[in-house]
Amino acid sequence: MPDIKKGMLRKVPVIFELGCEGREGFALPEAEPLTGEPLPDRFRRAAPPLLPRLDEVSVVRHYTQLSHWNHAIELGSYPLGSCTMKYNPKINEITAALPGFTRVHPLQCEEHLQGSLELLYVLEDSLKRLTGFERITLQPLAGANGEFTGLSLIKKAIEAKGEGATRRKILIPDTAHGTNPASVVLNGFEPVSIETGAEGHLLPEAVVPHLGPELAGIMVTNPNTLGIYEASLKDIAAMVHGAGGYVYMDGANFNAIMGKVRPADIGVDTMHLNLHKTFSTPHGGGGPGAGPVGMTAELARFAPVPVVDRRDDGTFTLVTGSDDSMGKLHPFFGNFGVLVRACTYILELGEEGLHEVTRRAVLNARYLRKRLEEYLDLPYQVETLHEAVFSDKTLKKETGISTMDIAKRLLDFGFHPPTVYFPLIVSGAFMAEPTETESKEDIDDFVAAVATVIGEARENPDMVHNAPHNTGVGRLDEAFAARKKILRYTPAETDPVD
């Protein structure tokens, strides 16, 4: 019997269960008989690989049907806090597809690459203006890759002073992204966790005990993952500099302060920007992203190479640069197509437009916060910028319904849930970021959905606890999946799962 279809949302079997022996998607010409020595036995498979046997249209339908199970920013709101899932304007795709960008090869001579080099130059220049740094490298491929780069610059600077063996500690607040301590360790530094103050931001007192000859620096996300501006960062930076350390700023949340604060002005030595967040390039599903890194004049001599410079005659050239360079992070110039999209966004909006982006992102987040405060606990009552972090504390105590249950039930209403259980310092965190691209109506719809779910939590908790009900698959047993990892399909007869 055929599977009952749930309206247009089809039940989709795994691809191995489709098709039949002998079916093919295309016809290959008869292979010529092999000549010469056959491959030695030890290189040959014992049995042919288990490959699905399908015709083309079945393959296309299979993946298109699966794609219908997905949520996307182009289907509805995606208030995933910290991830900044804003809409990417279509003009970005138009420019990125221009043959002048897609049909050049990075090994062509400089004269042939002038347009692409100019784009890199203009993008670096725009980012320099927004951040105040001396130099920006566009090579890093993602935020975490940017963190690695910035910390490598700090390491080079410390080594150049002959302090590499002693200056090894990097302070990281407890609100940090998990990638921060990982990047610190990857660079051979030692992460030291420091506590966020009661008001949700870092206080100079937390840094004081760590000042000294072992301090390599501090790594601060600003605004932090509670959406709160690190108001003491300027003072803290001065203290860290006074002790001989450096200041890294995780710029993942730059969309909240773009045009308002130039990080270099408050004492930041190096920072990364997530082009795929603040500057509207695609993300999710692993990229490709881009995490350009800004740096002060002191650190610039260690920058990755090559960099693009403008000659006096207005043409552009690649400079492979100094012997001090940390080297390359990626062949050629990074994820170039992503850089084209970000540059398009910047030029389309212009300086004033970018400032307006910040204002709207903050306004939207504050409006959302004000509306949701009615339904959920707000552990930090101070002013927040681009996102708001709630807690399920009261609701869980009163109804047994947790943040995860709300998140799952929101799927039934067609919303991607907010980020859950992060940052770690908030119990049952529910972290929502509407971004500037959502309209008031969109935000109101989201709030209405949350309000409905909270109502259900009190009247019909089973409905929420067993959600989602309207999706391609129901509530997944995440714990089972993580405990018994089955990473490869095995046919049913030999399937070890009971």
């Binding site: 995860m404 259980y421 995440e478 714990a479 405990r483």
Partner: protein
């Protein structure tokens, strides 16, 4: 369990057997445990040192050693059955056995009552 001692970081220590585990309070906050990373047998550990990780579907959380001493056994069952930590955090879900090197450290740990007060405070 009443004879167990507790660290403020939510590990328990059984002075009778030297077993170390995480408390019910910790388990309730972690959610479903999916992986446990433990130190090597024979390793010397310091009180408060990060000696492993408990990973759940929500988060990964460090395990801090409640006492200084030598690791003499780890619970190998947890590699295949991390759910034991959820099912019986004070029983089959124990993590490792430490031979304490300083008896004073053991007596400095919280008793069951003081630990219950700490949990109540953290719930606030």
């Amino acid at each position: 369990m009443d004879s167990f001692k507790y660290a403020s970081t939510h590990e328990w220590f059984d002075p009778q057997t030297g077993k170390v585990g995480i408390s019910q309070f910790a388990v309730d906050h972690l959610g479903e445990v999916v992986e446990v990373e433990l130190p090597e047998v024979g390793e010397d550990v310091e009180k408060g040192q990060e000696i492993g990780t408990v990973e759940s579907t929500k988060t990964a959380s460090p395990i801090y050693s409640p006492v200084s001493g030598k690791v003499i056994e780890i619970n190998e069952e947890l590699e295949d059955s991390p759910e034991l930590v959820n099912e019986a955090p004070f029983g089959d879900g124990w993590l490792l056995i430490i031979e304490p090197s300083d008896p004073d450290e053991v007596s400095e740990l919280l008793d069951a009552e003081a630990y219950a007060d700490l949990c109540a405070e953290e719930e606030e």
